[in-house]
């Protein structure tokens, strides 16, 4: 999109999509799961019964901007 000799510097080699895909699937899923537990678990949806997870990460959830109550 943007091309300028000043900003270009040395570029990293392009990683083929076929190589990214398995990481994207596995890693992406794992990362989204982690964010789910911090952001949503025991609020809008719940895997565990109770509210320990919710209460434990309560302040972070509010301050990061996730909907909460």
């Amino acid at each position: 999109m943007i091309n300028s000799s000043v900003l270009q510097g040395s570029a990293l080699p392009v990683i083929p999509l076929r190589q990214i895909l398995p990481w994207a699937l596995f890693g992406g899923l794992l990362f989204l799961l982690a964010m789910y537990f911090i952001g949503v678990e025991e609020g809008a949806m719940a895997v565990f019964n109770g509210s320990y997870v919710h209460e434990f990460v309560h302040d972070g959830r509010h301050l990061l901007g996730f909907p909460c109550h």
Partner: protein, 237 residues
């Protein structure tokens, strides 16, 4: 790809630790005040005190740290995946420049714009009954904003070939603003601020949340760029 992902996660973790420091100093006092308000209202209504499942001390220290650090690390990983996809395909820039651009665009599309419509709320703002609905709207707005960003970038690239990079970029920005404004206009608004809730507290809480996310994204972009610069064969000076 593995080392890229690891670096992204490290950058995210460091960014999370920095954001935790800010959250502790500027965010926690507001959370405490808001909980104080909540308890006052409950007492005035004659409701029984809520049992404390996790103590406030734990919530404000390890709990907050865990929350911000885990989200930071996960965001760093997703950041690395975005970088791997964009690098050499959408941009042909140095790693540092690319990571800073991703950080700026990611901050705008994932935090800033969705939060203009559905801002961060302190405890006692927001009814427990609507939590599911509000969560759907919030994530819906994020998804829409990201889609608008993708459309804007691809349009900007197409226009740039004929009209030049500047004009292409302006057209892209215009498209993004129009699309997200439209979404903001059509999606329902939510106002669940209880009566008597201090306006300055709401404002300070949202400013603190804004600061936390700004630090998170900025630090992630800068640190990830530095770590990647070391990966490349000839470091740019």
């Amino acid at each position: 790809m593995g080392s890229l992902l690891l670096r992204g996660m490290i950058a995210g973790l460091i960014a999370g630790i920095l954001a935790f420091g800010f959250a502790k100093v500027f965010g926690e006092p507001q959370v405490d005040r808001a909980i104080g308000f909540e308890e006052q209202v409950a007492k005035a209504k004659g409701e029984p005190e809520e049992p404390e499942i996790v103590s406030r001390d734990v919530q404000a220290s390890i709990g907050l740290f865990t929350g911000v650090a885990v989200v930071g690390t996960a965001m760093g990983g997703l950041f690395a995946l975005a970088f791997a996809f964009v690098n050499g395909r959408v941009t042909h820039l140095s790693p540092r420049t690319t990571t800073v651009i991703i950080a700026i665009l990611g901050f705008i599309a994932i935090y800033l714009v969705p939060n203009l419509k559905y801002p961060a709320n302190p405890p006692s703002v927001g009814s427990p009954d609507t939590i599911g609905y509000r969560t759907q709207l919030y994530f819906g707005m994020i998804v829409f904003s990201l889609a608008a960003l993708a459309i804007a970038i691809s349009a900007a690239r197409q226009f740039a070939t004929n009209l030049g990079a500047w004009n292409g970029a302006f057209i892209g920005i215009g498209i993004y603003i129009v699309l997200t404004s439209l979404a903001g206009y059509m999606l329902p608004s939510i106002n669940e601020v209880p009566e008597g809730f201090p306006a300055d507290l709401l404002w300070k809480f949202r400013v603190a949340s804004f600061g936390i996310q700004t630090i998170l994204w900025a630090a992630m972009g800068i640190i990830f760029g530095i770590l990647l610069e070391r990966l490349s064969a000839k470091p740019a000076r």
